[in-house]
Amino acid sequence: MADKILMKGNEAIGEAAVLAGCRHYFGYPITPQSELPAYLSKRLPEVEGCFLQSESEVAAINMVFGAASAGARVMTSSSSPGVSLMQEGISYIAAAELPCVLVNVVRGGPGLGNIAPAQSDYFQSTRGGGHGDYRTIVLAPNSVQEMTNLTVKAFEAADKFKNPVLLMVDGVLGQMMEPVQLPEPVNYDPAAKKWALTGKGARKERNLCTTIWLDVELLEEHNWHLYQKYQYITDEFTTGSWKEYGCELHQTEDAEIVLVGYGIISRILKTVVEKCRKRGIKAGLVRPITLWPFPTPSIQKLVPSAKHFLCVEMSTGQMVEDVKLAVEGKKPVYFYGRTGGSLPSDFEILNEIDKIVRPD
């Protein structure tokens, strides 16, 4: 086992990508993710990889599309406005069922917004984001160590499910320095991708990567095929072999108030749970690690025992809709959010909890 080293979140993603066998990175500069491309611009040439700074995020995602279709483990990263520009390409990559890893170090929006941390891209990330019937797998780590581990898993999931995987972090995690234990390098064999565009060579049939099905019946068939794949991915992440990456439950067994939060918020919520318990309030935490597929069954299991749900986000309320869909109106679901780059304090959240559990 490697020793622990101190790393910045953005750089840890870069190193983990290299260890996962990623040798191609295409991206365009944007704050607050700049350390990641800077790291890879130095690191990838050391392993005979390709770092390319593109002319735009639009070009970057299409280079990713090309490299993914050619069989590489490939990554791009950006922050909110840049990820908006990539949505067209992500739709094509999802339609073509190609694996790739995307990183969004989310900042405040809408518009140019600011460069402070936010979680306001939840809808865009979990609902597809671009045009058409598709989904991306969305992983939301809450520490530098988990960013490292999930980067490796993201490449694995992308290849397994032939789907783009989005690593959604916020500016705090991207900029934060923490000790990490780096994973062992993965032996990635691109030759396993028999569908990849490599030049026909000795193959009898040529390989084709396309996303156009003019025939109405054929596109409908393709879309239902994608739908079935998304159902399978949902099963895998909620009850199947990827369940451990679905969500983390913290003191939920006897919880009367269940807090729900992901990313950096979940770390604040853990403190809130401890403080609640000290004050005699039975609080627990559901931390979605995977935002799509959403860990709906884990929340549903708590509905009979819980009295209240409180969803906390760095947005005006996006994930709370998924919590409500899971709870199905059987228990009240409250929301507390800060937006525009502000983080809620444990004190603010405790106040909200007081209002819910001690209304008088």
């Binding site: 002319e55 090309g66 390409g89 026909k200 084709l208």
Partner: protein, 251 residues
């Protein structure tokens, strides 16, 4: 019996779906012949555009990616960076290459990306029904310039070959036409040279091919080719605009 004319190995057996008189079939064939003659067919990867030639991949028997509108040079870049020893080309029309994809073509050229771009300029959007293209001539009537392209409000036709040849990196930039047999022969030479440049890893190569659109121009093919010669060639002069390969002159 001696076979003196046959289908290039790089072309598939699918019949072309293009309109009667369309030049795409001829240009596809010249690309395919070039790949065969350079013996690179089995290591070639094409990138199809959005436009009339969106289904270009149906007519080539080689690996193909079908790119989003205008992004073919970026997609080709991604492929080429993974397989630097393969032959990667994009095949694009004027809307794809000279309007929506302007950034991608300029920067692929500026990086000296070792790919080949075949740019078919027929001065109109074909697939969407004959709208004004960035290369539409001043005064030319289209579905979206019914009174003729007015330079005052719609600008002038964009000259891709001239523009790209101002960049330092591109190895080979040429404009050809296929309005008669003599020019067809020259066009073939230029296309083959462009692929040869890539095979020799000399950098970015670009061939602009002036072509007709009988359907949306509202002219039968013979008349259309004559119109091209008389009206397009003066605006889009033919020739090699840049050749840094040190090879023999092709035109």
């Amino acid at each position: 019996m001696q076979k003196i004319f046959e289908r290039p190995k790089a072309l598939s057996k699918n019949p072309f779906h293009y309109c009667p008189g369309c030049d795409h079939g001829v240009i596809h064939r010249m690309v395919a012949e070039s790949l065969d003659e350079l013996e690179v067919t089995n290591k070639s990867i094409g990138v199809a555009p959005v436009g009339c030639s969106v289904f270009a991949y149906d007519y080539f028997d080689i690996d193909f990616n079908s790119a989003p509108h205008g992004r073919a040079p970026a997609v080709a870049t991604g492929i080429k960076r993974v397989h630097p020893d393969s032959i990667v080309f994009s095949y694009q029309g004027d809307g794809d290459c000279a309007a929506i994809g302007t950034a991608e073509i300029v920067h692929a050229a500026n990086r000296g990306e070792n790919i080949t771009v075949v740019f078919v300029n027929n001065a109109i959007y074909g697939m969407t029904g004959g709208q004004m293209a960035p290369t539409t001539l001043v005064g030319m009537k289209t579905a979206t310039s019914p009174y003729g392209r007015d330079a005052k409000t719609m600008g002038h036709p964009i000259k891709m070959s001239e523009m790209l040849s101002t960049l330092t990196a591109p190895a080979f930039v040429a404009r050809v036409s296929i309005h008669n047999v003599a020019n067809l022969m020259k066009a073939k030479k230029a296309i083959k040279r462009a692929f040869e440049v890539q095979k020799e890893k000399k950098g970015f190569s670009f061939v602009e091919v002036l072509a007709i659109c009988p359907t949306n121009w509202g002219k039968p093919p013979v008349e259309a080719h004559k119109w091209l010669e008389e009206n397009m060639v003066p605006v889009f002069p033919l020739g090699v605009f840049k050749d840094q390969t040190g090879g023999p002159a092709v035109l």
